[in-house]
Amino acid sequence: MTIKTGIGFRKDFAEEFLSGSVLKPGFVELAPENWMNIGGFWKKKLNQLAEMYPIISHGLSLSIGSPEELDMNFLKNVKNFLKEYNIEIYSEHLSFSKCDNAHLYDLLPIPFREDAVKHVAQRIKQVQDYLGQQIAIENVSYYTPVAAEMDEATFVSQIAEEADCKLLLDVNNVYVNAFNHNYDAKTFINNLPLERVAYIHMAGHTKVAPDLIIDSHGEAIIDPVYELFEWTLEKIKPVPVLLERDFNIPELDELQGELNNLKKIMKNKWGTKKPLRTSPNRRNKKETYN
């Protein structure tokens, strides 16, 4: 049984992070599009990082929910990147960030509709065939539905089943969406194919109005989200858990504190065995996540 917590690698705290003195995650997450096809200073830092930690990748620009064709050239670059750094998990958002061939660099909700289920599932299959591996799709936070004809849990579940892909369950996003759209977070989670969960995200958020939370990744995780996390862990097998923090970065020991909180809950729910030792990601060397 593995208890592995990780954190997103950010340039803002790269040096301190790579010194390894404060933060001691079990793995790191990064977006391939921020790190592929680069050289120079950041390539060196990336190589250093890969020597120290296993890497999980979480994409931003694939735009799995786009109406248009997949960008195969982009996907080719992603594939090469995953291979170069021996990255086993590639996840993406169940959203679209590109439409009419214009990138928007944000995650827009796909219409929860039958035809979109078929369209998106077919695209996920295409990606999985090309990469030769299953990918994990993440439930995203959204602030308004767009032309929805079914509920979100049905939409996510049908796509996962039809595409036969994994799920990245973002517990904070469930909390945020449940608040913003007045549904019950636990019912939502219960309605997902939980056996497909391969990876979990945890994060903080920002309340901007009495009825609206923005998924900012700019605050510490709040207690109700920890509670929802704890409740969720009982229903799924052990998977890696990531702390997302993109803005308003505090001292690293605060982040380590949050990682410790997560680890404590995971140990409590998933057993007390020590994590399997995983060697760092020496490039092109096999690394497993189980």
Partner: protein
């Protein structure tokens, strides 16, 4: 296509709204929440521009800068999936909109280009260095240089002066811009026309230094070989100390 036209239209309307704010019908949308998407997306674009073009951002009047960035965000279809590369499209967009003339910023394209080059060189993939050896005798050898470089021509000396000072000094400016191997830092050197010819021919690596000098004497109508050599060696030693000239092949 599995996606119905109506669903596609809904996605397209939503994306279009995010970019230009035009109120197209989006079924079932919570109207008061739509602006959050515009704000979040615009901030990504705005931040990318301010980070990539700090000098332009600093010196161009805020109102003008904001308008240029806003128009780019609204009208331009960004084709680049990697956010850090997107500002290159802003540079192209400004050119296509002829903003240098419109806003009376003659240095605009040179400055945006110079700032973009710095980012591009800093981030670009590593290029294999040539094999080279160190020797004192350069004259009869082909010189090896750092392959991670570009030589560009600018109309305004935005690499030497503040933008509005540079605006009054239209001319031909040549710039060698390169990435230091160890630190990864991007450096540049201002070159005269003559030394641009010299460096470009060194980069081509088809001739020995002596052969290039002979060409220079002929092309530039110079008689004083000794002075040319002295000045050229001073430049090349300086560029060697700064990590551009590596040695000889």
């Amino acid at each position: 296509m599995l996606l119905k036209t109506e669903t596609y239209n809904q996605q397209s309307n939503f994306a279009q709204y995010c970019r230009d704010g035009k109120d197209l019908a989006i079924l079932g949308a919570k109207q008061e929440r739509l602006p959050h998407y515009r704000r979040l997306i615009f901030n990504v674009v705005k931040d990318a521009m301010e980070t990539t073009f700090p000098i332009s951002f600093k010196y161009i009047e805020t109102e003008i800068w904001d308008e240029m960035v806003y128009n780019f965000f609204s009208w331009h279809k960004c084709s680049e999936p990697q956010v850090w590369r997107m500002p290159e499209e802003f540079f192209e967009f400004c050119k296509s909109q002829n903003y240098a003339e419109k806003y009376n910023l003659p240095f605009l394209f040179d400055l945006l280009y110079f700032e973009w080059l710095e980012v591009e060189l800093y981030m670009m993939e590593d290029i294999q260095y040539p094999k080279f050896k160190k020797t004192e005798n350069w004259l009869t050898e082909k010189i090896a240089v750092n392959p991670e470089h570009k030589i560009v021509k600018l109309e305004y000396p935005v690499h030497l002066e503040k933008p509005f000072d540079a605006a009054n000094k239209k001319g031909d400016y040549f710039l060698l811009i390169y990435r230091e191997k160890e630190s990864g830092r991007v450096q540049f050197a201002n070159l005269s026309v003559l030394f641009t010819f010299l460096v470009e021919n060194i980069v081509l690596c088809e001739q020995t230094l002596e052969e290039i000098f002979n060409d220079i004497l002929y092309i530039f109508g110079i008689n004083d070989l000794e002075m040319l050599q002295t000045e050229a060696f001073t430049l090349l030693r300086d560029l060697q100390a700064r990590g551009f000239v590596l040695g000889v092949k």
